[in-house]
Amino acid sequence: MGQIELQKVTKSFGETQVIPPLDLVIGEGEFVVFVGPSGCGKSTLLRLIAGLEDISSGTIKIDGKDATDLGPAKRGLAMVFQSYALYPHMSVRKNIAFPLKMAGMEKAAIDAKVEGAAKVLNLGDYLERRPGQLSGGQRQRVAIGRAIVREPAAFLFDEPLSNLDAALRVNMRLEITELHQTLKTTMIYVTHDQVEAMTMADKIVVLHAGRIEQVGSPLELYRTPRNTFVAGFIGSPKMNLLTGAVAKARGVETIGIRPEHVAVSKDSGEWQGRVTVAEHLGSDTFLHVNSDHGGMTVRVGGQMNVGHGDTIWMTPDANHLHRFGADGVRIA
């Protein structure tokens, strides 16, 4: 249960094609994250899978069966919305029970399932409350509860953490990952936050202007980004992408080096630069440097004593140097 296959799927709104022909296979039990900047079509893609939008052409298969023309309710998928979309006039219990009621399940069976979900999600004390009386994190859990009681073939998450504050976001990230490990159900998760993508995904799909830039495990994407877009999007702080003479010297259009793969010295090195801002995180310090080749960011140990205005020398680790051609594509 839970294999989803997109074949030559396109989507146009009027004249504008937001999703050019796209193929993608999501394996059973995988945690797949669609990530990309806003407007890249990741939410549209999720809604196409959900059946909330009609696809313009192509085929969607769920567990090998053609689901292209099935309505959202018939696809056996559950979705957690960005706004949670809880029913404000129903108690938590009724919210969670709603999909079961719609499926015509018996009252006793519904109660048992709701209780079970509430236990998993720590909502036991809140079952009789209305969504309006809950905190953001609790609402989020109710939305998840409503999804899990259906035992869907796959869960769809549409930026579910974007309305939570930073601390809660980290917690919920863990909870969702744990949930995936417990349920082992396919999950498709949309986010614009590459940290969420890196930490949660089995497989990341990087989208840009409706096109898939790269599909792979978090570490594949981190180690071997297929092009400059993925290189710049995955990883925090961003990879330094340098063009001009320094790249020409290596025979390519663009070279990329991650902040953590640059050796920094106060005395000597390959590139010279002046520190504009030093961000001390304690364990690490990120230096924003005005170098001969443009602005760069490098990481140094927390104990290194550098600050604004200091001149430093930087040497890239040749093993971790990425090279890209004129079309932005990686050169091995």
Partner: protein, 290 residues
């Protein structure tokens, strides 16, 4: 954002309303236009004949027509000045902290819910009446001659009645707009050294502009068709002193049974109202986009 099936359902659900309003708009209006080109009097059945623009010519050259246009304008403008001016003042006042704000609001809003015929009769008899009215009593009490409002200043009296009914509407809308003004904006202006007067001119007035425009346009639409107040108090008189366009058309068609002439007048009223309506629609249309 929707699927094909739901689009079809949407069209089906919207059609009764659209069809009904389409009929309501086209059929009677079409008939009015048709009648306006006929010589057609209910007292002389069977003499209907095509009259070309004669009805318009008669209606437009009737001295009563110009009086009625003038009266319509005076009535609309008079009421607008009182209600918008009074409305802004009241909105500013009620926006201040005060005890019993809710009750005062309720008192101020009340006249809007009084049906036009009742307010016209109450004012006519219990306030304006030169013998038994409260104003007459007040005049006598300070040694003045009682003033016969409805015969000596008929238009003014009607303006008072209508303004009393619409002042609550203006106040309520302007107060709502006032309360939606972000108080941090006012505080920022205060920090920037703006006096109360400056804050009023540079912050509150621009914020209220839109609400004032809406009030003016909506009231104009309704005020152009003022009818019951005139029917109940003065019957358009003395002479034609309080005959507005709506009342003139009413007299022509239902009192003199001149269907053709009344229809021509009706079409003229429609044209005038549409000029106002275009502005109103623009305002509301803009709002739809936000």
């Amino acid at each position: 954002m929707a699927t094909q099936a739901s689009r079809a359902a949407a069209r089906l659900m919207i059609s009764p309303a659209v069809v009904l309003l389409l009929l309501w708009m086209i059929v009677p209006l079409g008939m009015t236009i048709y009648f306006s080109f006929l010589r057609y009097n209910l007292l002389m059945p069977g003499t209907e004949a095509f009259a070309g623009f004669d009805n318009y010519k008669y209606f437009l050259t009737d001295p009563a027509f110009f009086t009625s246009i003038k009266n319509t304008l005076v009535l609309v403008l008079g009421v607008l000045i009182i209600t918008v001016g009074g409305g802004i003042a009241l909105a500013l006042l009620l926006d201040q902290p005060l005890w019993g704000q809710g009750i005062v609001r309720v008192l101020v809003i009340a006249p809007f819910f009084v049906m036009p015929t009742v307010s016209a009769l109450v004012w006519k008899n219990m306030f304006f009446n030169p013998v038994n009215g409260l104003f007459a009593y007040a005049a006598k009490a300070v040694g003045l001659q009682p003033f016969d409002f409805l015969s000596q200043a008929p238009m003014f009296s009607i303006i008072i009645i209508v303004a009393w009914q619409w002042l609550p509407f203006a106040t309520l809308i302007l107060l709502t707009a006032m309360q939606s003004l972000d108080s941090e904006q006012l505080e920022a202006a205060e920090m920037d050294g703006a006096s109360w007067g400056n804050r009023f001119i540079y912050i509150m007035v621009p914020h209220l502009t839109r609400a004032v425009t809406v009030v003016i346009l909506i009231q104009t639409i309704f005020l152009l068709s003022t009818f019951a107040e005139i029917l109940v108090t003065t019957n358009g008189g003395p002479g034609t002193a309080t005959t507005n366009l709506t009342y003139l058309v009413y007299m022509q068609s239902l009192l003199q049974f001149d269907v053709g002439g009344g229809s021509a007048g009706g079409i003229i009223a429609v044209i005038l109202a549409n000029i106002v309506a275009i502005f109103l629609m623009r305002m509301i249309g803009k709002n739809l986009e936000t």
